[in-house]
């Protein structure tokens, strides 16, 4: 690759604009109608999952939910750009992408419900645990891809992070290792303009985040993160490059988090409502609906079918989270190491004794919980 080709183009790639109009691009083709319909269906599900989860927080069924409302084109684009055998390394904000890769919503919500640190089988779904310590998972993605490459597998690994996370040292080390070892990783940054309350201008003085790529020797690309067509095209190119042995890429999507950082956040403290409204006009669902309706691909019947599908997911989520899943205190000791040490055995015996005593003292008590003597 020529050095100049590592630099992002001067404009952000967009294939369908905010009004649903197709934009001609000399480099990227518009995905097929089927692909766009599938993406649209994904967006409808995604939006419903986001809003259902937020509602469940309000109802006290979930402890916390970092919503990707507004970023659904990135979430669905990331999930659809991968082949079934590929791997995704997501963050706390990427529950929708995780679900779009096949994880059951209820399993994805275990973390946010407080039942365990991660609720799905990462191997079965080829989705790493959602990472909380920022940028750390990017290195895991690199090591994972390294191992796959060494074994001659053609797995591609998609590693997600936010704009804020690009400031962490681990971001730097991950991109550098990836480029030096030329591993098949796509680094996909959802630049939603904020790291909690801190705006992008406090995160970087660079022309764009994609301009960091050349400093590692990989291509950097910018894409409209609210245009799923463009996201699919640009990520598709990066995935193909990685799969063909061309090494890693850095993709920056320009998007916006429409809600607060989490339910516990108060975004009125740090951003104007007018800004939020501006971004509402660039909604990823609306534009694709306009486009697909205009081309006739999206009929009312289809739209209803999609809505019904999304509603099904949402009601399954509600149902799954309506019951308090049983938790087993011994789990605290079960998984720390492959073989439990005598120290942990001893500590479990202590806790076991406390639990037994609680139950004996109050035999009516079915559910295990902390008691006071």
């Amino acid at each position: 690759m020529q050095h100049e080709d590592m630099l992002p183009r001067s404009t952000v790639t967009q294939l369908i604009d905010a009004h649903g109009t197709v934009v001609e691009d000399e480099q990227y083709a518009l995905p097929s109608v089927e692909a766009l319909l599938a993406a649209y269906r994904g967006l409808v599900d995604a939006r419903r999952i986001n809003d259902q989860a937020s509602a469940l927080v309000r109802q006290g069924r979930l402890a916390v939910y970092p919503s990707s409302h507004g970023q659904e084109a990135c979430q669905i684009g990331a999930a659809l750009a991968l082949s079934p055998d590929d791997w995704l390394f997501p963050t706390y904000r990427d529950s929708v992408a995780v679900i779009a890769r096949g994880v059951a919503p209820a399993e994805a919500m275990v973390l946010l419900q407080g039942g365990w640190h991660s609720g799905y089988d990462v191997r079965r779904h080829r989705v790493a645990p959602q990472a909380t310590p920022l940028a750390t998972q990017l290195l895991h993605a690199v090591g994972f891809a390294y191992a796959a490459k060494q074994r001659g597998e053609d797995t591609v690994v998609m590693a997600l992070c936010g704009d804020g996370a690009t400031s962490e040292g681990d971001f730097h080390e991950a991109l550098n290792f990836a480029a030096v070892f030329r591993v098949p990783v796509v680094f996909f940054v959802q630049n939603n303009g904020f790291a909690i309350s801190v705006p992008l201008s406090r995160q970087t003085a660079a022309p764009s985040l994609a301009h960091k790529a050349i400093g590692y020797g990989m291509p950097g690309r910018r894409v409209d993160g609210n245009d799923v067509a463009a996201v699919l095209a640009v990520l598709g190119e990066a995935v193909a490059l990685a799969r063909s042995g061309g090494g890693p890429s850095l993709i920056e999507a320009h998007t916006y988090r429409m809600q607060a950082h989490t339910n516990a956040d108060d975004d009125t403290r740090y951003r104007e409502r007018s800004e939020v409204e501006e971004w509402a006009a660039r909604d990823p669902l609306a534009r694709l609906r306009t486009h697909l309706t205009a081309t006739g691909a999206l009929t009312d019947a289809r739209e209803e079918e999609f809505a019904a599908g999304a509603e099904e997911i949402a009601s399954a989520m509600r149902e799954a989270l309506a019951v308090d899943a049983e938790v087993d205190p011994e789990d605290l000791f079960r998984f720390v190491t492959a073989t439990r040490s005598p120290q942990l055995d001893e500590q479990w015996r202590l806790l076991r004794g406390e639990i037994d005593r609680t139950r004996t003292e109050d035999p009516a008590q079915q559910q295990i919980h902390g008691g006071s003597r």
Binding site: A63, L111, I196, V198, T262, R269, P329, F333, V336
Partner: protein, 342 residues
């Protein structure tokens, strides 16, 4: 993750003595310190417009401007490393690291520079900086949000490690930390952020001293941070059962107040150490070992400890099983070879 909260916004509007939450007391201490010394600067992630995810820096930027309280890029080693340079050049940085586990990216800067720069330069370059870290559990936080990492810091020569358990100490100890010529790891027990108490801003704390939180003659509970109210609660229950329980708030984890603690345990002859962190190679083991060694001839029973398990911190739904609770403390007290029993 940000955590639900009441707003504080008390900066600059409080009388010398007032009833404040610990969060408000910390906020006031920062405001007063900024006002008292132009060298003091507060920075970190989300400490500006947002006022911190726990609102401890609430209103500081609005009141004092971006020069005195500001947001940085999201990089903890960057925050601490920059603070080192600022401290080398006349400033008194007070940085906030958002949650205990998110201090870890800064660990090399803390251990290799914050702790050692004064020693390295034979005292020519001191490190008058404060690293504030909300720590501990009890708020139902998800993984990485509830750790207690004080052992990492207490084990590191050159660092002062302190943690308040009352709004008064929160105020006075933070002021003392900011005034200190040495680097201070200031651990804020987030479980206690919203507990209220009287704060007299004229009280000056002396780093390195423990505080007798409750008098008692039969047994001494040695605790710090969120374990202090727990110890007081256990003492109350035990006293109803006829035991006179003394509670000492260690509050200065390093340096350690041997004089107070040794005298206390020698007087009662029995002791239990309480802390949330995993017990293995911990501050609790240090306290246990010291007390054992210094009070050996005076002990009626082995010193016990009640700590978190040697497992990763529990997910929210299992947290109550993980954390030391009143029953566990009472069991430990019961085990101290009482003559009135068996």
């Amino acid at each position: 993750m940000t955590i639900a909260h009441d707003d504080i916004r008390v900066a600059g509007e409080v009388a010398p003595v007032a009833t404040l939450s610990m969060a408000a007391a910390l906020n006031l201490a920062l405001a007063d310190a900024i006002e008292a010394d132009t060298a003091v600067v507060v920075f970190g992630e989300d400490v500006g417009a947002l006022g911190g995810v726990f609102r401890i820096t609430d209103g500081l930027t609005a009141r004092f401007g971006e020069d005195r309280c500001f947001d940085t890029p999201l990089a903890e080693s960057g925050i601490v490393g920059t603070a080192v340079g600022m401290a080398m050049n006349g400033m008194r940085p007070v940085v906030e690291l958002q949650f205990d586990a998110f201090a870890l990216p800064a660990f090399e800067q803390i251990v290799s520079h914050v702790a050692k720069m004064g020693n390295r330069t034979r005292g020519v370059v001191r490190m008058p900086l404060v690293i504030r870290i909300p720590f501990g559990g009890g708020i139902g936080g998800v993984e990485h949000h509830c750790d207690s990492s004080e052992a990492y810091y207490a084990h590191t020569p050159g660092l002062t490690v302190i943690s308040p358990s009352t709004p008064q100490d929160a105020y006075s100890m933070l002021r003392a930390a900011i005034a200190s010529p040495d680097p201070v790891i200031f651990l804020e027990p987030k479980k206690l952020y919203w507990t209220k108490g009287e704060v007299d801003t004229s009280i000056v704390a002396e780093i390195g001293t423990a505080r007798v939180a409750r008098e008692g003659t039969d047994v001494t509970l040695l605790a710090y941070a969120a374990s202090v109210p727990l110890a007081l609660e256990a003492a109350e229950v035990a006293s109803a059962e006829g035991r006179s329980v003394q509670v000492i708030d260690i509050r200065s984890l390093s340096p350690f107040d041997d004089a107070t603690v040794t005298a206390a345990v020698r007087a009662t002859g029995r002791a239990v150490v309480i802390a949330e962190a995993p017990g293995y190679s911990s501050v609790a083991s240090e306290i246990q070992a010291r007390v054992f060694e210094r009070c050996f001839e005076y002990l009626e029973a082995p010193v016990r400890r009640v700590t978190g398990f040697d497992t990763p911190f529990a997910p929210p739904k299992l947290e109550h099983w993980y954390l030391p609770d009143v029953d566990r403390v009472l069991d430990a007290i019961d085990s101290l070879h009482w003559e009135d029993e068996s």
